[in-house]
Symmetry: none
Subunit: 251 residues, 2 copies
């Protein structure tokens, strides 16, 4: 639809906008169309983990149809862990159920969950076009969201998936008054880099003690252990406590 008026200002939002993270996006066009869909919905912070065609990408700029600021300000990362390091709460987008201990939310509920975090810095993660989110990346998420669509034909283009998730967010963040204070505001969730530090430390210790020695089972065991702690919505203080516990048990 025609009708953009660049002279108008973006709407005032009652909540901080989540970051969009694309992991291993295959086509520059899709990144460009994602940027356009993001800006349609008032989302401006794009992070790219290892885009297949490299970065910057002229096709992305062209396909963004004027969402230049999103493309120009996009940040590039070599790993998911780096891309999510400063985020407090992370939701992965998936079209298929995962056999992992993690809340699986319809998009509507997922957005409510993000809005409840109020001032926490949230991220929405999208896997690559062909296979979606890798299990290792899904494991790093606090929850997974799925978009309820025609079950006989639910495959969405990457940018369309971002559009529907963004639209859900925009509809609620623009119209709803800020929610009342929640616990997570008083004690913000730990940044992801702190969680990942803890995971790696625990896994190192468990490698040493032989708990993870069964090589073929190690990836699943690591996923299961990470999921236990991710479900707990840990604060920084709690991560510190867990470090203390591991250190003490090892002594």
């Amino acid at each position: 639809m025609a009708g953009t008026d660049f002279k108008q200002h973006p709407p005032k939002l009652s909540h901080p906008a989540p970051v969009i993270i694309l992991i291993g996006a295959q086509l520059g066009e899709n990144i460009g169309m994602t940027a356009r869909a993001m800006l349609n919905c008032g989302l401006t912070e794009l992070r790219l983990v290892n885009p297949k065609e490299g970065w910057p990408n002229a096709k992305a700029l062209s396909a963004s149809s004027g969402a230049t600021e999103v493309i120009k300000n996009a940040q590039l990362y070599n790993s998911t862990a780096e891309a999510i390091a400063d985020l407090n709460y992370l939701i992965g987008t998936t079209a298929r159920p995962r056999d992992m201990s993690k809340p699986m939310l319809p998009v509507d509920t997922a957005i409510d969950t993000i809005l409840e975090k109020k001032t926490a810095k949230c991220g929405l993660v999208f896997g690559c076009e062909r296979v979606g989110l890798h299990n290792d990346d899904a494991t790093l998420c606090d929850a997974l969201l799925t978009i309820p669509l025609n079950p006989g034909f639910s495959s969405l283009n990457l940018a369309q998936a971002v559009l529907l998730v963004g639209y859900n967010w925009f509809s609620k963040a623009c119209l709803l008054p800020p929610k009342l204070e929640t616990i997570s505001e008083k004690s913000p969730l730990a940044p992801k880099k702190e969680l990942i530090n803890f995971f790696e430390r625990l896994e190192n210790e468990l490698d040493e003690t032989g708990f993870l020695r069964a090589k073929e089972k190690r990836p699943t065991m690591v996923q299961n252990i990470r999921n236990i702690f991710l479900k707990a919505d840990l604060t920084q203080q709690e991560v510190n406590t867990l470090h203390g516990i591991v250190k003490s048990l090892k002594s």
Copy 2:
């Protein structure tokens, strides 16, 4: 997103699906992407009024990414009047206000209006990519709808506009989707006695190693540690894993 399962059946819908009418669509690709977005949302009836590149169109078929039935069954018309002849209620989609005596509804309200018509045959009209709906065509509509988006960047691709309108319709018209399965349904939460066993075992170990030696702080520390694990909604299997971790670290 990957994940379409063509073997599944489309959802049962509580209302007849509206017809999508594209007037003067310029690009075959956009018609194809529109068909894909329609089928994502359980919409199958597409009508084309004077598509600029003619019809049938190979680019449309290719861009539909498998929504072949929508493309193959699309009906071609020489005028808007013919294309809407059998419809009972018509809503036009526009990004800009029109100086005409006609209800201007946000998409959410427009879909409610369609659903209220119950068995009436409804149509949703989209103008061409460059200029949107012609005033003559808008005049034929019972109401106009607009999609509330970032007013600083509200220009949508044709297929994205269809997707957002279709998604609004599908979310409301499809019978409540089956409750999304969560792991905690498959793997019930651990009985409280198992949790308490784990807490006591951990606390005993931490008493031994001296982590809880500060007597006046011990009650608060124990509460904090228990809360970490209580927040995680642990399954029995996860409690077993935690026992294994503690045992391994202590060894």
